[in-house]
Symmetry: C2
Subunit: 225 residues, 2 copies
């Protein structure tokens, strides 16, 4: 039996997305729930990274996850094994989530008692970056096999994110990926972008990433240590 | 000095895309020019694969390339080194090309005397699949690091393509990528999808892919051997 529900979220054609996003952000702030919007290309390791983060943080924070996908429940099934609250959002073909679709997910997940909610956005480096979901923070993943030139070619996502996770550093020896160049190109787009080189597979770098997320969630929720 | 021009292509809001696509396809058919729409996620190796194909085919076919990107001319610069005719299309933030944007590119490239034109679409597994560009054939690339589960999560692109290139097979030992599963999942979406496992880096499998493209271009152009 599945441990998660599947919700079909619908885009509101007439919505003012920025206004919807701001309203959702304020609501989550009031409820002391930090919403993170996690974006990347397909196959960069969002679900594996998320599983590693949940296992490091679930004893310290009450966590919920919204898995957004065009079709399939593959990721919700994987995440539900960590024991945290998870729902699968189906976008009905849409390539991104907007703020109202995110709000529908938040309502279905029932987030009031949660400290941290992570939205795994649709795998896409382009469209999700254009829509403010109402999240407290945007985090992206770029994986080593994708190449260090991506900040040159997909500028917006680097601009709107607070942090960039560089995943799959365990395969660095097999790819022509220049860590200094990716840092230079990414900071050209966004000088404040925080970088976290990790391997979700081996666990390298995951503790530093988890600590940073914990600190930011605590700050957002007003639990200053 | 750059050997290619940069064109800003604009989306036509009122266009009937399917009609535009059909019109462009018939025009290209009449001119005996085979247009291939190449799609994939960012970083799956479109440009490297394309370079390998051009080097294998440029003595047999007159080739032109349209590089579509949101920003940057990185790929047009790379392709221009092969010596074929190339232009860079900028989509102004758009996540895909539609048929009218493709037509604008075709006009600027001046394709009448070309046998084969390859459109490298914006790196995105979702949106480009929704828009018929007017191409004779759609080809997609899935790279090993992206994972074998992608046909489950991004169904449409597998349905609309004639062939799927599985790139980066040189790194198969370092990833949990199941070749039988990807074939099963992809054929579940599209039983007629032709599969080409390759390594654009080492050249493995590239000759078979080039031959298949040559055969199909010849058939389209009416040059049956």
């Amino acid at each position: 039996m599945d441990k998660y529900r599947v919700i079909e979220v619908k885009q509101s054609i007439f919505a003012d997305n920025d206004q919807d996003a701001e309203r959702l952000r304020q609501q989550m702030k009031k409820e002391k729930t930090c919403l993170i919007n996690l974006m990347s290309s397909p196959g960069s390791g969002k679900t594996t990274t998320l599983t590693g983060l949940i296992n490091r943080l679930k004893d310290q924070l009450k966590i919920g996850v919204m898995e957004a996908d065009i079709d399939s429940d593959v990721d919700a099934g994987t995440i539900s094994k960590t024991g945290v609250k998870v729902i699968q959002l189906h976008t009905g073909g849409m390539c991104h989530l907007d703020a109202d679709m995110t709000r529908q997910g938040v309502m279905e997940l029932e987030t009031e008692d949660l400290d941290l909610v992570i939205l795994e956005n649709v795998g896409n480096l382009v469209c999700p970056a254009e829509f403010d979901t109402g999240a407290a923070m945007n985090i992206m993943i770029l994986s080593v096999p994708e190449g260090h030139d991506k900040p040159l070619k997909y500028p917006l996502i680097f601009q709107v994110c607070d942090a960039m996770i560089i995943n799959k550093i365990d395969v660095l020896p097999y790819f022509d990926f220049d860590m200094e160049k990716v840092e230079e190109f990414a900071h050209r787009r966004n000088p404040n972008l925080k970088l976290f080189p990790i391997s979700a597979k081996t666990g390298e770098g995951m503790d530093a990433l988890a600590s940073w997320i914990k600190e930011n969630a605590d700050a957002w929720n007003g639990n200053l240590t």
